[in-house]
Symmetry: C2
């Protein structure tokens, strides 16, 4: 699988995939032609990275995670812990969304009241 197809499957842009490879988050094999060839495992890994990044995990933490991943099976406990911590972080984000929704609803209702008082 070449980069555009992998990009379509994992959600990351080709540029971002190359950037992640350069910074060591993923290792991708090359064909005899020098082009990147993505394995299903590559795609699964990149998809996971996509979701972690999309929900605000910083690169530093992703690097820690990637380093554990590359060390193999004995780091699964640490990886689980890291993912659970990120799940905790998602709850915080959700509370932020809730809070912002309240702020918006309040603001919109005062705007609507203002508009009625003008009209």
């Amino acid at each position: 699988m070449k980069i555009s197809e992998a990009s379509g499957e994992c959600g990351l842009s080709p540029d971002t995939i190359r950037f992640y490879e350069k910074s060591g988050l993923v290792q991708i094999a090359r064909g005899a032609d020098g082009l990147r060839r993505f394995s299903p495992e590559n795609v699964e890994w990149l998809t996971l990275l996509y979701w972690l990044r999309q929900t605000g995990m910083p690169m530093k933490v992703m690097h820690r995670f990637a380093s554990l991943y590359q060390q193999g099976a004995e780091t699964i406990g640490d990886r689980t812990a890291l993912l659970l911590q990120h799940a905790e972080h998602l709850r915080t984000r959700r509370q932020e969304l809730d809070c912002c929704e309240l702020v918006l609803a309040h603001k919109v209702s005062t705007y609507e009241a203002l508009e009625r008082s003008i009209a």
Copy 2:
């Protein structure tokens, strides 16, 4: 009110407040000593900006919003529309969180299964 107190109330760092002022998102009066003096209205506005930014509104859109705000009451309809659109965006974000939560839960459960199969 001076900048550190305003920062504490609105959630933005002093540096970010200065950055927002420089880029035109807010106008802040100065005292005779040259220091910024924040009105309650300033703080309310900055708090709104904080929430919009925190939930992913890009600077470009915030500038549009700020420009409407500075044009006065006749832009309230436009401002309401903009906020409602952002509220829509919040729903998208929440779906992303949901989706990531599923991905994480699945990954954690496969990790746990793997760990049991090793141990």
